[in-house]
Symmetry: C2
């Protein structure tokens, strides 16, 4: 089957929900943004061997690709609309691979309310490279920025931290005596992040600054600090851990790893103290664990405070590709 | 220099013209589309060794990346707004490479009226993979589609055909005794396509169906035929050739190659006979060569008619990556 046949068979059905995709039978898509709204755009690429393992199942890779982008929209308080997709497949790709990939896309499109709008398919001698541009909408001026944290704001985080980093260690063959259930949980957290979309949409007006955690809490909280020209003081003892991650800590694991390992796709944000009750109500409504982990202070950068009040030495972390 | 430093130094200046890019210091861009307009989106990826040569100068690669996408907007009658860019760099990339690449982007942004809105930078062990999502705007409902050709419409094409295909043969070391000036011209047509933006914008209301020619005239005219459920009859003797390509034909070259080799980035479109005078005026105003090459007929697909009225056997051509 040639490129056009593959697109018609596996990708065209993914565009059925978007009239402006013209059934992927034109050179461009057309989008009208409802009056009073603006379009929010984000683009994340993932590469085999860097962001996922070449052995990962392609339906999960497709879902991770959608989810890392939906996570950006969620942290900005934006509602997903659609996406454009560029795939650069290795030459040895088989039709069954593309079928599995499209199946993952289809399931997550339905879950997050997106449609495929267009894109491009190429082949190379290199690893699988996937690039997705996600479109969302938000009321004009209501996008939540990294900038905006104010002195005295509470710092909060959704979900639990560090699970994906531990999951990657398991995927790479490391073991530390975690039970099978914990191992499966951690692996799943690595392979299938859960963007906090329902919470991000509900909390749009309550967050003063926000970012989704892809490069580790310390690095991404650092982006809020930099953009807001403020400091963030975080307390190690308050960082929300899954029971699997807490078990790893009990066996001698270092909390600093969990705060820097990345791939969490949780939302880190700041909000004034008077919004805490409303935030907790929204968290409960959307079934989202929400934890206050620190506060915005004078200064710059991120401090991680240990159990006895001392500042822990933590490299800022964050993944730099070069 | 790390990834963040490189982005700040070389990419951030490219976002200066777009307030909604937030200086590339947020996770998403925000775009407001003027009332009465809709957003047009297209995404083309180019890969070293497939769409350009790994030895090509990176400023030209950057320009080609922008131009292949602007060409899509031009054929849809849309005015460029901005773009998101994902780069997957080979591990051996040096800072000077990225500087040269950014310089090419900067020059073409200014030429076509685009700003960088966001994107992603990664590194892999594979070839350079570049993916660009271009945004444009058009009055609501005025995007020109592949669909829309009507029986009796004239078929027209901008510029000249086949130059880029010949340029690629020269880049790969082939020679046929073209002079140095012709070789330089053909190489340039391969490396630096000229999207027909001014003409596409001016002719928006005059084109009934249109496509930009990336996969060769026959393949792309075939997309118009398929989408419009009509046939396109094209005349080999009318295909516009540069003097360099005409020289190649005189030495025994085959017109079918020029009609199928791709990378032209000219606009092929259809229009009713009564629009010809207005189209010629717009072509003159924008300095665009415009040639009538055939007509829309009953039936399906594309026929290429030879000098004595016989149908030439031409494989549909078009590049399939798989």
């Amino acid at each position: 089957m040639d490129e056009f046949g593959l697109i018609a068979k596996y990708l065209k059905p993914l565009a059925a929900g978007a009239p402006g995709a013209f059934g992927l039978e034109d050179d461009a898509a057309a989008i009208t943004v409802p009056p009073g709204n603006e379009l929010i755009l984000t683009k994340d690429a993932i590469v085999a061997g860097v962001h996922f393992l070449a052995s990962d199942s392609l339906d999960l890779v497709a879902k991770k690709l959608i989810r890392v982008n939906v996570s950006d929209l969620a942290a900005k308080g934006a509602r997903p609309i659609g996406y454009l997709l560029a795939c650069c497949w290795p030459r040895a790709t088989r039709e069954a691979d593309i079928e599995l990939f499209a199946q993952g896309l289809a399931e997550d499109q339905a879950l997050y309310g997106l449609s495929l709008l267009g894109g491009d398919t190429t082949v190379s001698d290199g690893p699988l490279v996937l690039s997705l541009t996600a479109l969302g909408s938000v009321a004009v001026g209501k996008m939540v920025h990294r900038k905006g944290a104010r002195m005295g704001d509470r710092v909060l985080v959704t979900g639990t931290l560090g699970d994906a980093g531990l999951g990657l260690r398991i995927a790479r063959g490391e073991t530390w005596g975690a039970g099978a259930a914990d191992e499966a949980f951690l692996l799943r957290r690595y392979r299938l992040p859960e963007p906090r979309l329902a919470f991000g949409l509900a909390a749009n007006e309550l967050m003063r600054s926000a970012i989704d955690i892809s490069d580790g809490l310390i690095a991404d909280a650092g982006h809020i600090a930099d953009a807001s020209q403020a400091g963030l003081r975080l307390y190690a003892a308050r960082l929300p851990l899954s029971s699997a991650a807490a078990g790893w800590i009990r066996l001698g694991g270092d909390i600093a790893f969990l705060a820097t390992c990345g791939d969490d796709y949780e939302i880190c944000f700041t909000a004034p103290a008077q919004s805490m009750a409303a935030l907790e109500a929204q968290a409960a409504r959307s079934g989202t664990r929400l934890t206050e982990i620190g506060e915005v202070v004078a200064g710059a950068g991120v401090q991680l405070i240990g159990p006895s009040g001392q500042e822990l030495a933590v490299s800022r972390g964050g993944y730099s590709h070069f």
